[in-house]
Amino acid sequence: MENLLAIVISAVLINNVILTKFLGLCSFFGISSRIRNSVMMGLAVIFVMTCSSMLTWVIYYYFLAPFHVEYIRIVVFILVIATFVQLVEMIIRKFLPDIYRAFGIYLPLITVNCAILGVTLINVDVEGYSFVASTVNALATGVGYLLAIILMAGIRTRLELYEQPKTFKGLPLAFIIAALLALAFQGFSGMGS
């Protein structure tokens, strides 16, 4: 139990997927101009991340490991994530059309979000988590993504009201903000020990 709590704190704050590991940056910059959109994206990421990490864990240990072909895991994981997102998209489109419209482009975008692949690889490769631990890790990483993107969207919506230097307008300023946010998150780095 304590171990799981440590995983959660580590994934949300200390090793935040965006601000410390720098994974999944394209959607972080693309969809952080409005808070509503960023919340939708964050929720979609949490959902897909958790489900696909459960799926890939099972496939890794019960399919790849017995045949000793662990080294093709990246190809297999991408295949699994893409298939899974497709499937989820179909189901949501059929049964929850309103949510489907709200997710819009974000759901297919997640397919190519490297944060998802990164988490699944970290689960089996770097950390070697058990099934429960890797699920919790994926969930917490998603929450960390949500936290970072909401922070970013909040700052960017506020910034829009102020006069910005012409050269920094838009993406350049977003990168500077992201750097400052990442710097702030480095403050958590001592928490584990």
Binding site: I59, F63, L64, F67, H68, V69, I72, V75, V76, L79, V80, T83, Q86, L87, M90, I91, R93, K94, P97, R101, L161, Y162, E163
Partner: protein, 273 residues
């Protein structure tokens, strides 16, 4: 080598079969007419119809054909085409245009140095003008106009009637509500917005209506009535004689020359099924 091919092959095959079944099972029936209507729309996603974009609007029109007049970007022929798809008749009426109803003559109450935006200025104790109904002149409307129809001239927005499509985006964004949507057949147009009493208006504004009632008195057909300290012009009775325009001491009334009601301009439409 064999194992890798086998594992990837089996996985790929299994997923493919799964997706095929899923796509059969979860197939969504789309109304073919939505696509047809969508094809007629310009695809600008301007949002003037009140829907999220052209796709949303198309599906709404198919459900409720009376919404066919909500889109301001399509012309009469395109509307007829949509009518054909939906099996209804579309009858055309007057087009509308945005017009500024302020002369910008108000005295300045205090110096404003905040964010250069009408919305922000209006939320700071109602703006920096003495007249609380006057145009603030930062041009929020210029920015929102998707058709480049508005320019700022001497601190007031000037609306290019040839480019204006009557989408009402500027009407919605103006915090002071000084831009009004007017049908093309309006004969006399009023350039003041303030319902304040005559004395107050005369003190704070150099150019606005002072509710002197002259227009009401000179009108030969009694088409003008003072309502809320502003002349209200009955556009049906009005004969566009120009008497009130001539006699108005503040020149806040203007004879509106109708812009050509050609088929290239978007027009309002009524639906008869």
């Amino acid at each position: 080598m064999i194992e890798e091919i086998a594992v990837l092959g089996i996985l790929g095959f299994a997923f493919a079969i799964g997706l095929i079944f899923a796509s059969r099972k979860f197939a969504v029936q789309m109304d073919a007419r939505v696509e047809q209507v969508r094809g007629t729309l310009p695809g600008l996603d301007c949002g003037a119809c009140g829907f999220g974009g052209c796709n949303d609007y198309a599906s709404a029109v198919v459900k409720d054909p009376s919404l066919v007049c909500a889109c301001k970007q399509i012309d009469a022929d395109e509307r007829k085409e949509i009518g054909k798809v939906l099996g209804i008749d579309v009858k055309e009426t007057m087009p509308t245009f945005a017009r500024l109803s302020c002369t910008g003559g108000s005295n300045v109450a205090f110096e404003y140095r905040g964010v250069q935006s009408c919305a922000v200025a209006a939320s700071t104790v109602g703006g920096f003008l003495e007249c609380k109904y006057g145009c603030l002149g930062f041009g929020d409307c210029v920015e929102v106009c998707a058709f480049d129809a508005i320019r700022m001239v001497d601190g007031l927005p000037q609306i290019d009637k040839k480019k204006c499509t009557g989408c009402a985006q500027c009407v919605r964004i103006c915090p002071k509500k000084v831009i009004k949507l007017q049908p093309d057949d309006v004969k006399v147009f009023l350039f003041c917005n303030s319902p304040e009493p005559a004395r107050v208006k005369a003190r704070m504004c150099k150019k606005g209506c002072i509710a002197c009632n002259i227009c009401e008195r000179v009108c030969p057909v009694h088409a003008i009535k003072m309502v809320n300290n502003l002349p209200e012009i009955d556009q049906v009775t009005c004969t566009a004689c120009g008497e009130c325009v001539e006699k108005c001491p503040r020149h806040v009334l203007e004879l509106a020359k109708p812009i050509s009601i050609s088929s290239t301009k978007p027009t309002e439409a009524q639906v008869t099924t």
